[in-house]
Symmetry: C2
Amino acid sequence: MKYRTHLSSEISEALAGREVIIAGWIHLKRDLGGKKFLIIRDKDGYIQVVISRKEQPKLAELFYELTPESTVSIRGTVKLDKRAPNGYEIVPAEIIVHSRAKAPLPLDVSGKVPADIDTRLRERVLDLRRDESRAYFKIISVALRAIREELYRRGFIEIFTPKIIATATEGGAALFPVAYFGREAYLAQSPQLYKELMAGAFERVFEIAPAWRAEESDTPYHLAEFISIDMEMAFADYNTVMEVLENVVYRAVKAVKEECVKELKILNYEPPDIRLPLKRFKYVDVIKALQEAGHNIKVGDDIGTPELREFCKVVKEDLFFIVDWPSEAKPFYTMPRKDNEMFTESFDLNWRFLELASGSTRVHIKDLLIKRLKEKGLNPESFRYFLKWFDYGIPPHAGWGMGLGRFALMLTGARNIREVTLFPRDKKRLKP
Amino acid sequence: MKYRTHLSSEISEALAGREVIIAGWIHLKRDLGGKKFLIIRDKDGYIQVVISRKEQPKLAELFYELTPESTVSIRGTVKLDKRAPNGYEIVPAEIIVHSRAKAPLPLDVSGKVPADIDTRLRERVLDLRRDESRAYFKIISVALRAIREELYRRGFIEIFTPKIIATATEGGAALFPVAYFGREAYLAQSPQLYKELMAGAFERVFEIAPAWRAEESDTPYHLAEFISIDMEMAFADYNTVMEVLENVVYRAVKAVKEECVKELKILNYEPPDIRLPLKRFKYVDVIKALQEAGHNIKVGDDIGTPELREFCKVVKEDLFFIVDWPSEAKPFYTMPRKDNEMFTESFDLNWRFLELASGSTRVHIKDLLIKRLKEKGLNPESFRYFLKWFDYGIPPHAGWGMGLGRFALMLTGARNIREVTLFPRDKKRLKP
């Protein structure tokens, strides 16, 4: 017998009377004595199977042995029945059990018995079978496709930069050391310097790949391993790449709203409506608004979560840019403004209090890079390999990086980045 | 002045007499005295700029200061001229130098002075500006898009599995250790076990992400860090996923042939014509054919490069599957054949002597997995975390993995995987 002839999504009333083979997991069992029901779950949805004790005595016996989450193939006939969830059900002739699940399981996949996130992450393979989890990862996949399509349309090519690197590229945040053929190396925190160099060869590049930060902080928004969406563009400044970013976000949200209607319904969530262009607020104006709202904050300070919450209320915007950050708040490769070098050509994209992405015009002049490194207390000698290329003709360029997990919070309404990461890695979690 | 109004690809005879701003690198300079020529290179191609000493004396002076690979923006008028490479050239009014390249450079980007691969990899940022390199990475990007589109079309979702893992998942090949918050962890050699588990939640998944093997061998086909294209599919066996693989390959080759005409011309290469279905040769028949050709080989042996070269000649095929490998040649998670458990439901996809991809039906029954682990001399206890899930209802499933770099060799005609990897990592190379 074949594993399957039809997915649940491929069965309709038009198949009434036809024999089909469905396959999936035993999601629920319901025993009404004379009639016994199985709800079978597959990647696309659910389908009801009905066993009559009188007419199918052997299958009715087998029913008692079927444990939830066991995998099966079921050959049977599509029968119309107004009482069935989709208006039809399957009357089985044969049930093949591929793999019998133990009972009871440590987690209820049907979601009727809620579990805390620690339990769910420990039993992640079961947890990911829940409707909500499957909705999250379908939405993420649809968004990824839309993100890439928008970038392809604009002449970007997809690249992969090295993840094992010889030296820290950004300074600051902690790195994970790797033992590399007897030498010490590190896991890349971001593709920053490499993507800049690649803009110096291919002009328009993007990368969607893992990055690592040895984050000590235990928050719903930080992980030690995360997927970073990065782009870099030659002969462009921060205004140009902000326009690319807002269009990438727009297109991803549009795709999710159009292609994930079922998933958003499961999540009871609607991503924000986006009107382009997004509002751009100058950093100094944000500070001023916060001061007027009574916050003890001054130019040069970072803008923290409580302040951002307040600012969203004041301006009544959920998704917006904060631009022209002070030099001390941004990395060494950020281009100072021509009119006032205390500030930079930089931006953050914020969704409410959460920083989704940040970017800037980059410094493409070697002497200025060295000056900026020194101002940051970094040693230009450790960046020798990177600086060398700036003697080889680097174009003016700009770019941004966006965390896929954080973006997924906006797309799905999930409250913790661990929900939208298959197997999250943090200080506590290295397994499963 | 804007950086650019037009890419080289956007300029045509129709713009004759119009003012444009182009931007790019000084690719070549040619001084004919009264007339001085600059060939400007941008992401899409080349465009000629002509300076008349008599009419543009200041620009003619600047001409001498312009070094190859310096980045510039040039404002000027499009002028038709049959002698120009595209039938038109730019008569400049203004030239802005963004970044002056030092001279001489350690590598000739125009490709007129060939360099060996070690030099080119050391000066990789310059090397990647060569036409051939840019053609390689354009082709790879086009192929990636086509690969994903074929998988999306078949209902797959894109996932990212963890790269920092607690234990070796495949045994055998060497792992890179990572210091993870005071604990020892490893870089994933492949997403194998995770993708299998994800087929047990989402049914059809794929991942395109880095993987690492501490390869000691120095060959044109091995790297310590590589991009692995992985898929896994529930309720499927190896025949089903071979059909997916050959369609993925077909679609990628088709996209490259259609969208990369210019790049293939630069490389003077044509990827193989593919007719589906690809030929499937049984492992035992390959051994028999080799024995008949006089090779000293027997059932159970691996099939090495010299034997594969010979086999290609005998069967006159360039791209083909070898199926039903003996158990000892395949990993523990490979499903034995039902008719003869000395052999497995497995395949390699070969391009000439090179293994591009391999896959199989996987074992979804816990007891059989434990038996297979023991046969391989592996300790089931080290796979406890993985085995546990097989009590939770795992569907029958199958999948494959393909190295992007090796596939790129077939798509581009490059002879060394380092050519088609931006910054290759091997035993010798951790920089740049």
